[in-house]
Amino acid sequence: MPRHLRVRIALVLAVIAASVWYLYPPKKTINLGLDLQGGIHLVLGVDTAKALAAQTDRAAEDVKGALERKGIGVKRVAREGNAAFTVELASPASWNDALTVAREFETFERRNEDQSAGRFTLATSERRVRELADSAVRQGVETIRNRVDQFGVAEPTITRQGEDRILIQLPGVQDPERAKALIGRTALLEFKLLDERTSVDDALAGRLPEGSEVIYQRRVDKETKAERKIPYVVQKRTLLTGAELNRAEVNADPNSPGNWQVSIEFNAVGTRVFGEITEANVGKHLAIILDGTLYSAPRINERIPGGRAVITGQFTVDEARDLAIVLRAGALPAPVAILEERTVGPSLGADSIRQGLIAITGSAVVVFIFMLVYYRGSGLVADVALGLNLLILSACMAAFGATLTLPGLAGIALTIGMAVDTNILIFERIREELRVGKTPRSAIDAGFTRALRTIIDTHLTVMVTAAILYNFGTGPVKGFAVSLFVGLAASLFTAYFFTRLVFDLVYLGRRKVEAVSI
């Protein structure tokens, strides 16, 4: 009697049972890649340098403010590079007082001091620069996840990739352009005062005071769809940002039928600041600016105590809805750029699944018939082993939560061709042993034993390449590597272990074996 028959049968049955358990029901257990179910794959690059520059600008404003509050005259504050700014005092006399103020800004290091000129530079420390870049990416991931959740995408993937990249995968999104706009928008909402002392013509001619800039408003003509850009002169100083926002909601624009607006409500801090701004600037115009575009600049008629405002701008209901989402989710700490995009429409995905399945079925049918015709009884065993291989392969994909991609389907088709290799190796060996005159029983024994070493070698080499593919590849190629690797591992079990068990059951249990069907 061959050894451990019962244990081996139990093991095979257990593997089959586990496979069926993991696979059921297949629609839910197998993850389809974006190339099969349609969707967007995006890699965003976070412009951490810009975030740093913005941070430095804010710090420069703060330092200037702090100095002026102490009665120290400031001639000039200018950013140098992304991480440093230079302060030039009105007179060197206030040098010591100025240094006391500067010391309060602990994250900055003082450099290039020139007392006689009343000039020093504050530079962000290296460590702080790294921290800022890191937190910009981390916050970016959080913000985008927030937006996507509110947009409503089933099972999105949003992860950090390397130093400054964010990987986003949105399966099944119908309108990729809209999703992209929602994700990629910085959504920095700013409230600034108009510079009403400078005329637009002067500003456009280059006669612009230091603290002001030109910002455009976009107007689209309903009839002609032509876009106009209207220039405004705006003070550079930001009075309030969307960070102090509590709520953002969509409602119909009462002044412009057919258009929608977003009404916002500030939190406690925002409400207080908004109240102060409006109180101090009655009669002036407050510009509402989103990502560098002016949306409206209403006149402040009186102090607004409730912390409420509206953003109007010829929005459609979808635009207004998306704007409300990004405002609620908050601004990205740094602008992002799309580095890589792969969008697959749902119809193409469905076609790919169909073609992939045709290839797998075709390949299986041809190989099944080939093995059956060439090796007869043994070929049938190999075919059953192959079927088992496909079952285990699918179950492993389900169990590990691996994603099935189009190249993955190709990998399965290829695995079918390669998996029977093990059986061919064994069967050819058995035939050879029979040819030199061995009895069927010893030929089977010798065939399995001698082929084993070769089988392990052949599997390991291809598995090595599959592992390398997995390590370097992107999404779809990774899928190919996974199915190839798992398919080969499964074939060690099915084509060797399982086939040998069947042979032992059929031939070695009998007292006398006349012939082998091979």
């Binding site: 750029a337 697959v344 073609q355 041809v366 190989v367 061709g417 029977v420 070698d457 080499t461 390449t465």
Partner: protein, 312 residues
């Protein structure tokens, strides 16, 4: 019992010079094509750029698509029919900073020409310059890592000679595949790279089967009774039916993938298809032959060395 070969005993190793000639000619034709066409064509995965796959309701003339795109001034766009007459792939080179806008502008341009009819955008791929560069580097790393991994594996399991021979065979296969890609005007893309790596694994796998047999035989007969070349030839012959049978099953699978797997997988399947053929050929003719050449070179030197010692 159906048998492809019954105790085959062909003189593969003896005819290796002729095989060298075949290999050299095939590789030279491929390289010639690559040189004539100015190198391999790379997919946007590596060059960066935008790819848009569009399906129209009615098949439009390519020229018409070209004219509506020309208004965009986006550089040299390549428009190719993809699988059927109403489906096209439009490729655009990288243009400046806002390349992710390119997709949207192309859609607008196509929509503005009413004569083109309705269309559906089925796929958009944009690869920025940074990502393209990263992928290029990764591709090189992957191939090098694959080769080194296999060299180490074979060198440890067998000997250095075997490892180097396996690598030579793999190089041979990769060169043939490159040539075939160029001759067939196909592009080098990420899936093609995946196929190449698979072929590397497959080709070595085949070679190993023959080496395993050689080692087993060497244990049986003392190596002095038979010349090394004959031992190698025996091993190739003994594993020949397995080599051909496995090649056939894999060949079926890749052929079905190539002809029924759809347009998206075509280049990938094409490389596998060519690779299986050259991989099988190189197992029989290249890998074994290199070991034989090397061994006879070493033996020759040893003999000459002995003579020199005798004279002295």
């Amino acid at each position: 019992m159906i048998e492809l070969f019954r105790n085959p005993n062909w003189d593969f190793i003896g005819k290796r010079r002729r095989a060298y000639l075949v290999s050299v000619v095939v590789i030279l034709v491929g390289l010639g094509s690559m040189i004539a066409k100015g190198g391999l064509r790379y997919d946007i995965d590596f060059t960066g750029g935008t790819l848009i796959q569009v399906r129209f309701e009615q098949a439009p003339p390519v020229a018409r698509i070209r004219t509506s795109l020309a208004t965009l001034q986006l550089g040299d766009s390549i428009i190719q029919e993809f699988g059927e007459a109403r489906e096209f792939i439009i490729r655009l080179p990288l243009t400046g900073a806002d390349s992710e806008e390119v997709g949207r502008r192309v859609q607008k341009a196509l929509a503005s020409d009413a004569g083109l009819g309705k269309f559906e955008v089925r796929r958009v791929e944009f690869v920025g310059p940074q990502v393209g560069r990263d992928l290029q580097l990764q591709a090189v790393y992957a191939v090098v890592a694959g080769l080194v991994g296999i060299l180490l594996y074979v060198a440890v399991r067998f000997d250095l000679k075997g490892g180097v021979a396996a690598i030579v065979a793999v190089f041979h296969d990769v060169l043939v595949c490159f040539g075939a890609l160029s001759l067939a005007n196909r592009e080098f893309s990420l899936p093609v790279l995946a196929a190449l790596l698979t072929i590397i694994g497959y080709s070595v796998n085949d070679t190993i089967v023959a080496y395993d047999r050689l080692r087993e035989n060497r244990g049986k007969f003392s190596s002095k009774a038979k010349a090394f070349a004959d031992l190698m030839n025996d091993a190739v012959n003994q594993t020949l039916s397995r080599t051909i049978l496995t090649a056939l099953t894999v060949f079926f699978s890749t052929a079905i993938l190539l002809f029924f797997g759809g347009k998206t997988l075509e280049d990938f399947a094409f490389v596998l298809f060519v690779g299986v053929i050259t991989g099988t050929y190189s197992t029989i003719y290249v890998a074994g032959a290199v070991v034989v050449e090397w061994t006879s070179y070493v033996e020759g030197r040893v003999r000459r060395g002995k003579k020199a010692v005798a004279k002295a």
